[in-house]
């Protein structure tokens, strides 16, 4: 039985094509995923992310506990800041990738992938110390809406303290009143555009969605589904858990070593990652770019050398709508370098892909805002 987003009626009214994703029935696209993709890159898109899992971790030992189960260094966080991090098994395999928000000195919010919510919760509970930390799963009471794109500040600024949101750094969060509703506003995102992620109690969700979806003169946020969200994240080279990473891959292989701080002290999976670092990687995740929109790499396609022998595998592949070329992420032996050519079989022919370093799209409203702040 699929879980239902509190915004389902809104999606039905908009004629959404729904799909099962991570145990939830969610919008795949409203009409055209390409139009939705371009709307986010050019103006703004509105995503229902209510399928994501949210946990509150609270107590005098909350920070110490999270430091022992997550890879990134919590000591670098302060209240109102967020970080990207991993939950690993003892072998260093990725149980989930998640965003950790510090709300108060002894209160943290973890936002996890829908399909992993139950697994993550059980894993955290098993590792919880006997006293000093509580874990509360608020996934089913929480609506998460993302407003993403170059116009996101203009659009959200109409309904809240514009000065406050303009001052927010990347990967930060604060409680604000949005159209009279109490909302946790976070500047995290998954599209590569400047994004506000809005957490609200589910009973306010439909009202918040309706307010954000209303057109304001020439400005509008186009409802966008999971299909557009996937092409947007793939253009940035962002990982999708369950597709690019899982318990058989480590953050080092996935090129996300920057979110792993081996020097911070012990955490689950640390010794396995240290050993992997010493022994060297046997494979690494790379970006792959085709020569045209007619050569589209696909999930799970084998990567081949010039003799047609399998050397690796694509994990995510699609058209990159902004580039109008095929783009992909995949694993290859570390002997392959940036700029090298590998092959896929397209309609029976060996067809080249070039190894590149993501992001595939480098000029966005996110990179502009980050540059403006330097």
């Amino acid at each position: 039985m699929l879980k239902v987003t509190p915004l389902l009626e809104k999606h039905r009214e908009l004629g959404a094509h729904l799909t099962a994703f991570g145990g939830w029935e969610m919008p795949l696209r409203y009409k055209s995923e390409l139009a939705e993709h371009h709307a986010v890159r050019q103006q703004a898109g509105l995503f229902d992310l209510s399928h994501m899992g949210e946990f509150l971790v609270r107590g005098p030992k909350a920070a110490e506990f999270l430091q022992s189960v997550l890879t990134n260094d919590l000591a670098k966080l302060t209240p109102g800041r967020a970080q990207y991090t991993f939950l690993l098994n003892p072998q260093g395999g990725i149980i989930d990738d998640l965003i950790l928000y510090q709300l108060e000195s002894e209160l943290f919010l973890l936002v996890v992938n829908a399909a992993n919510t139950t697994r993550d919760r059980e894993w955290l509970r098993e590792n919880l110390p006997p006293t000093g930390v509580s874990l509360q799963d608020i996934s089913e009471e929480t609506v998460l809406i993302a407003l993403s794109g170059p116009a996101s500040t203009d659009l959200l600024g109409m309904h809240t303290d514009r000065t406050a949101i303009e001052a927010m750094p990347y990967y930060s969060c604060q409680k604000l009143s949005v159209a009279g509703m109490e909302v946790l506003v976070a500047t995290t995102g998954y599209t590569g555009e400047w994004t506000y992620e809005l957490f609200v109690r589910k009973e306010y969700g439909p009202q918040l969605w309706a307010i954000l979806q209303a057109e304001r003169g020439s400005l509008k946020a186009s409802p966008a589904g999971l299909a557009a969200r996937n092409t947007l994240r793939l253009e940035m080279g962002y990982l999708l858990c369950g597709t690019d990473i899982d318990e058989s891959t480590t953050p080092l292989e996935a090129g996300a070593g920057w979110a792993v701080k081996l020097e911070k002290g012990d955490f689950i999976g640390r010794s396995a990652l240290q050993a992997q670092k010493q022994e060297g990687l046997r494979r690494k995740l790379v970006g792959l770019l085709s020569e045209s929109a007619r050569v589209l790499p696909r999930n799970a396609m084998p990567l081949l050398n010039e003799k047609g022998e399998e050397i690796g595998r694509i994990t995510s592949g699609s058209l990159g709508p902004t580039l109008q070329r095929g783009i992909a992420l995949g694993y290859l032996p570390p002997t392959y370098q940036l700029g090298d050519t590998v092959y896929i079989s397209i309609r029976g022919q060996l067809t080249p892909l070039r190894i590149t370093r993501p992001p595939f799209v480098s000029e966005t409203s996110l990179t502009q805002r980050l540059k403006a702040r330097l």
């Binding site: 094509h17 995923e33 007619r294 589209l296 696909r298 709508p321």
Partner: protein, 126 residues
């Protein structure tokens, strides 16, 4: 969702429209395009060739997936829709008219009886 009465349908979601004693036009259904999402490329390498019923005459690439196109009846492919070369989105916008894929010469008109009519196809995808 539209299922024009005058068309024949396959279980693989192609439609066939008879335009003469031995000629027909073939495309994919409204249901098929809505399932595939935005079409970005239609590859039909078999113009001029005889293709058996139920075998592949081309492929269609959507943003997320690639699918094979199946010949509804045995015949020779006379022409492919030249518009799709630069406007593959016509398959989404107008699957039964501007988004047609191939014009064929039917070898055995009696094979049409093996195809579904609108009501049966509607039930299949309903």
């Amino acid at each position: 969702m539209q299922f024009p009465e005058e068309l024949y349908y396959t279980r693989e979601h192609e439609w066939l429209k008879r335009i003469g004693e031995k000629e027909a036009v073939v495309g994919i259904t409204d249901f098929a395009q809505s399932q595939l999402g935005d079409i970005v490329y239609v590859d039909i390498p078999s113009v001029g060739q005889r293709v058996e019923a139920g075998t592949v005459f081309g492929t269609i690439e959507a943003v997320k997936t690639v699918s094979d196109l199946y010949m509804p009846v045995t015949g020779t492919i006379l022409e492919k829709n030249p518009v799709l070369e630069s406007h593959p989105e016509k398959v989404n916008e107008s699957p039964y008219e501007e988004g047609w894929m191939i014009r064929i010469e039917i070898e055995k008109p009696e094979q049409l009886e093996t195809l579904l009519r609108a009501e049966a196809y509607r039930t299949l995808v309903g």
